[in-house]
């Protein structure tokens, strides 16, 4: 579902900020018999992240705490260490990062799936929710992706933003 005006908003996006659980993962936690936890991340999204960054759009993780798994996935997705942001006070950290990096609410896109993301989603120029996000997140989102969490949300969003900005075709011709 794409709300009217979303494509216009996408043209201004310079920064994409991503919640991890339920967006890059399907929200499932796997435990081994000795209690070790794993999560299942999308690899479709690797192409999405690559595309955004190759076209000059910055990308950051924003989650309550950056785990070692998140660091590992940051490497796999090609996101620089300084853009892995962890804080339970997401809004305060966002204020700090906006000052530090010089961007505003008008420049960024936020992808979230839960009630705790609502504040961020309302501030963002463009807000996005996976198809299986909570009803609250879906009701405020400018875009609800066809993909569910962990199934290529960023891959889909990257294509949408870069097509709106007229950069997609060029990116494809570079990688194939």
């Amino acid at each position: 579902m794409i709300k009217e005006g979303a494509e216009q908003k996408a043209k201004d996006i310079k920064f994409v900020i991503v919640d991890i659980h339920g967006v890059l993962t399907d929200n499932t936690l796997y435990y081994t018999d000795d209690g070790k936890k794993s999560e299942c991340f999308s690899l479709h999204d690797r192409l999405g992240f690559k595309a955004l960054m190759a076209c000059g759009i910055k990308v950051a993780f924003l989650t309550s705490k950056i785990s070692r798994a998140d660091e590992q996935m940051g490497k796999i997705y090609g996101i620089p260490q300084e853009f892995l942001w962890g804080s339970s006070a997401k809004m305060a950290l966002l204020d700090e990062k906006q000052k530090e990096l010089g961007f505003t609410d008008n420049d960024f896109c936020y992808i979230g799936d839960e009630m705790i993301d609502l504040g961020m989603m309302k501030r963002a120029k463009l807000s996005v929710a996976p198809s299986d996000a909570s009803p609250e997140a879906r009701s405020v989102a400018d875009i609800i992706t066809k993909a569910g969490g962990g199934k290529g949300v960023i891959r889909e969003l990257a294509e949408f933003i870069l097509k709106a900005q007229g950069k997609w075709e060029n990116f494809i011709s570079q990688i194939t």
């Binding site: 999560e39 690899l43 796999i76």
Partner: protein, 185 residues
């Protein structure tokens, strides 16, 4: 979007295949990675896709893995497990690798088949004689494909391709007979 394919044309094309190539992620895996709290990575493969690859080689059709996006050596492990000798790791240019394989085996484009899912497979799909898309491939890949599997990547797509090709060349029944008696490895 619907993607109607002519099965008779697909069979005709499948009959000519002597070499079948495919990637790892999105084709042999569902394009996901399991990452545990310590950063250890795991990948899932579909048991019966191995049967697909091995059944084709047993019936005289060569298999080559053209991996583009391995993170660790996940595809290499799988190829070794299946005792496949043609594994190309982190290939950036699939088309020149294809040219190399065609020369080695003395084949034309018509005699090559491939299974694809992403943008990175598009050129290959347009080049080879028999192009197959997984059910969860992107629309562009499905559009150029001659056949689309019912199964998504990493959940039986390669098993399905194998059955389709062996059926097309009339060897499936015989093969089923054989593996039910003796196994396939």
């Amino acid at each position: 979007m619907s993607f109607e394919k002519d099965l008779e044309i697909a069979k005709e094309k499948a009959r000519k295949v002597k070499l079948f190539v495919h990637d790892i992620h999105g084709v042999l895996t569902p394009n996901v990675i399991f990452c545990d709290v310590e950063g250890q990575r795991r990948y899932s493969f579909w048991h019966m896709d191995g049967f697909g690859d091995l059944s084709l080689t047993a019936n005289g059709i060569k298999i080559a893995y053209l991996d583009t996006t391995s993170i660790d050596e996940e595809g290499l492990f799988r190829a070794k497990e299946l005792k496949l000798d043609k594994f190309y790791y982190r290939v950036t240019d699939k088309i020149s690798k294809l040219e190399q394989l065609k020369q080695e085996y003395n084949l034309t484009n018509e005699e090559v088949g491939c299974l694809g899912a992403e943008i990175t497979d598009l050129k290959l799909m347009k080049t080879v004689g028999f192009a197959v898309a997984t059910s969860d491939a992107i629309d562009e890949v499905k559009t150029v494909a001659h056949y689309i599997t019912k199964a998504p990547g990493g959940r039986g797509a390669m098993r399905e391709v194998c059955e389709f090709i062996l059926n097309a060349i009339g060897k499936w029944e015989e093969w089923v007979e054989k593996v039910t008696k003796m196994g396939y490895k």
